[in-house]
């Protein structure tokens, strides 16, 4: 054992904690940077709604511009919440990034809210992309109120898919299984949702789609794009979406484990 001299490591003075605002700002900056460095993966999330926006141009006359935009936004919200969010959480949990943060004096909620904030930024960008693509390529123009209402509606509706993503990553700990499951749910929702809403799967399936997370979100966004058409159906869809969000979020938080091992 060596003889030592000691530096002032204080035990008696109370430690001061960094402000929650400062902690959150540091986490958010890091999460946004990480997302930016993964921008190729992010672009892949945006590609499908944009492809559908262009491919469905011939359907505008039959179904109307808002219908096309609503489907594209709904698909984008699906992609962000179910594919992007759940996979990024599963990956970071498996790498022990959350455990490392949790042994620091950062409150747990700041870690998750920072992640969700990044997803809201992605939803905003995706929605703007669809608006711009729809206007430039499909010549779909909305009123100013329609753009504003549908922009905020898409942010609110993103909650249901983020909650579903949370439930997936809560129930399943293995990141590969999360990836496979999220792909399956994503494809099932958008394929059945798209073809069902086009009436290609029969009336019964059309009804089921209407009450699925895909259908309710699409209904809300469709009416928000043209606010003057907001009606009882939109209110019901909003209520059902809220119900889905509460149930998925409750299960996602209840099941969630910070450590995958």
């Amino acid at each position: 054992m060596s003889n030592t001299t000691t530096a002032p490591i204080t035990l008696t003075n109370p430690r001061t904690l960094s402000s929650t605002r400062s902690v959150f700002a540091s986490l958010l900056r890091a999460d946004l940077t990480t997302q930016w460095r993964n921008r190729r993966a992010t672009v892949m999330v945006f590609i499908l709604p944009v492809i559908i926006l262009f491919a469905w141009k011939p359907l505008i006359k039959a179904f109307g511009g808002p219908f096309i935009l609503a489907n594209c936004i709904t698909i984008g919200l699906n992609a962000v919440g179910i594919m992007g969010y759940s996979n990024s959480i599963a990956r970071d949990r498996d790498k022990g990034i959350f455990q490392r943060l949790r042994v620091s004096p950062a409150p747990n909620w700041t870690i998750m809210v920072s992640r969700l904030t990044v997803q809201l930024v992605l939803i905003s960008i995706m929605t703007l992309f669809v608006f711009i693509g729809g206007y430039q390529y499909d010549h779909i123009a909305l009123t100013a109120g329609g753009y504003v209402a549908s922009f905020f509606t898409s942010l609110a509706c993103g909650a249901v898919y983020l909650a579903l993503g949370q439930a997936i990553v809560g129930r399943i700990t293995n990141p590969e299984t999360v990836n496979a499951t999220s792909r399956l749910i994503y494809l099932a929702l958008i394929l059945i949702g798209m073809f069902g809403s086009l009436g290609m799967l029969g009336n019964a399936m059309n009804k089921i789609v209407d009450y699925s997370p895909y259908g309710t979100v699409k209904t809300i966004v469709t009416h928000a794009l043209v606010p003057s058409t907001w009606n009882a159906d939109a209110n019901l869809a909003l209520l059902i979406t809220l119900g889905y969000t509460v149930v998925f979020a409750y299960l996602g938080i209840k099941w969630f484990k910070w450590n995958s091992r």
């Binding site: 054992m1 060596s2 003889n3 030592t4 001299t5 000691t6 530096a7 002032p8 490591i9 204080t10 035990l11 008696t12 109370p14 430690r15 001061t16 904690l17 960094s18 402000s19 400062s22 902690v23 700002a25 540091s26 986490l27 900056r29 890091a30 940077t33 990480t34 460095r37 993964n38 970071d92 790498k95 022990g96 990034i97 455990q99 490392r100 943060l101 949790r102 042994v103 620091s104 004096p105 950062a106 409150p107 910070w258 450590n259």
Partner: protein, 288 residues
């Protein structure tokens, strides 16, 4: 000169846990308090009906490297997780620099630095960005000059803009250690810090850990390397089946147990080492 104390803590007059009138040595620490930086008392941890940790008590003093050794599944990680307040103990109390880890969790965490077994930072972030992230969490402003100083200290001055995922294992470990100590915590927790390191990196790490001890940090570490524990730890606790079976200095643990038949049987080189005592006390069977 090292001073000799009788008792679990200097001056408290209680017998050491490994036996009556255990003598161990602590460095004199004139300007640090004699309050332990970590105190664990009567810790019980259950996973369902399985009890992983049973009435574990120990303390880590400032300026001390305390090794927690045990076979796989002995309860080391559970104990460490409870100290980090990642799991809630069924019974017992843990205080870090006087803060209760259950009731004053964030304050307790602010007083500890943690180096986890696997280095765990976002691989997309650069070294400088990781330092800024944790600096922000600990309420520190790291300007360019301070960042350069830190990076120079860990010999990574050219790696500030390198992404964490591009660093070698040794470099990642250095970043991990500097993050654990960036806020100058009284207590440093290290979970198998040398796993996967080459001899040079391992040696460098121990030099840094010993330097921190010399500055007055209390260090709690787990390791499977008995040689390392024997050479760097001031005191060691051997834990098995959730119970601490001995706490003392490495040399005292060897001396106290060298005549036990199971230790002699475990000895392979004629000379009794800490590993022989460890095997003798915990058994030769491989744990899952």
């Amino acid at each position: 000169m090292a001073r000799s104390f009788t008792g679990f803590f200097p001056g408290d007059g209680r017998p050491g846990l490994a036996g009556a009138a255990t003598t161990f040595y602590l460095r004199p620490m004139s300007n640090t308090s004699q309050q332990p930086v970590l105190q664990v008392q009567g810790l019980d941890i259950f996973y369902g009906s399985f009890q992983a940790v049973k009435k574990v008590s120990f303390a880590v003093m400032p300026g001390e490297i305390f090794g927690l050794l045990g076979p796989n599944g002995a309860g080391k990680t559970s104990t460490l997780s409870a100290v980090e307040s990642l799991i809630k103990p069924s019974a017992g109390t843990i205080t870090v620099a006087g803060y209760d880890t259950q009731r004053q969790t964030l304050y307790a965490r602010a007083c500890m630095g943690v180096q986890l077994q696997s280095t765990s930072f976002q691989p997309e972030l650069t070294v400088a960005e990781i330092l800024q992230l944790y600096g922000g969490i600990y309420g520190m402003t790291l300007d360019r000059q301070r960042l350069d100083e830190i990076l120079r200290d860990i010999k990574l001055q050219d790696a500030a803009s390198k992404r964490f995922g591009q660093l070698s294992g040794g470099q990642q470990q250095r970043v991990s250690l500097v993050i654990a100590t960036i806020h100058n915590p009284p207590l440093l927790l290290m979970d198998e810090p040398t796993t996967g390191l080459d001899p040079q990196s391992r040696r460098q790490l121990w030099v840094r850990i010993e330097a921190m001890r010399d500055k007055g940090h209390g260090i709690l570490l787990t390791t499977h390397s008995m040689e390392e524990a024997e050479s760097v730890c001031d005191r060691i606790a051997i834990i098995d089946h959730g119970r601490i079976i001995t706490i003392d200095t490495p040399q005292n643990i060897i001396d106290t147990n060298r005549d036990r038949p199971e230790v002699i049987q475990a000895s392979r080189k004629g000379k009794i080492t800490l590993e022989d005592v460890f095997i003798g006390l915990t058994g030769e069977a491989i744990r899952s």
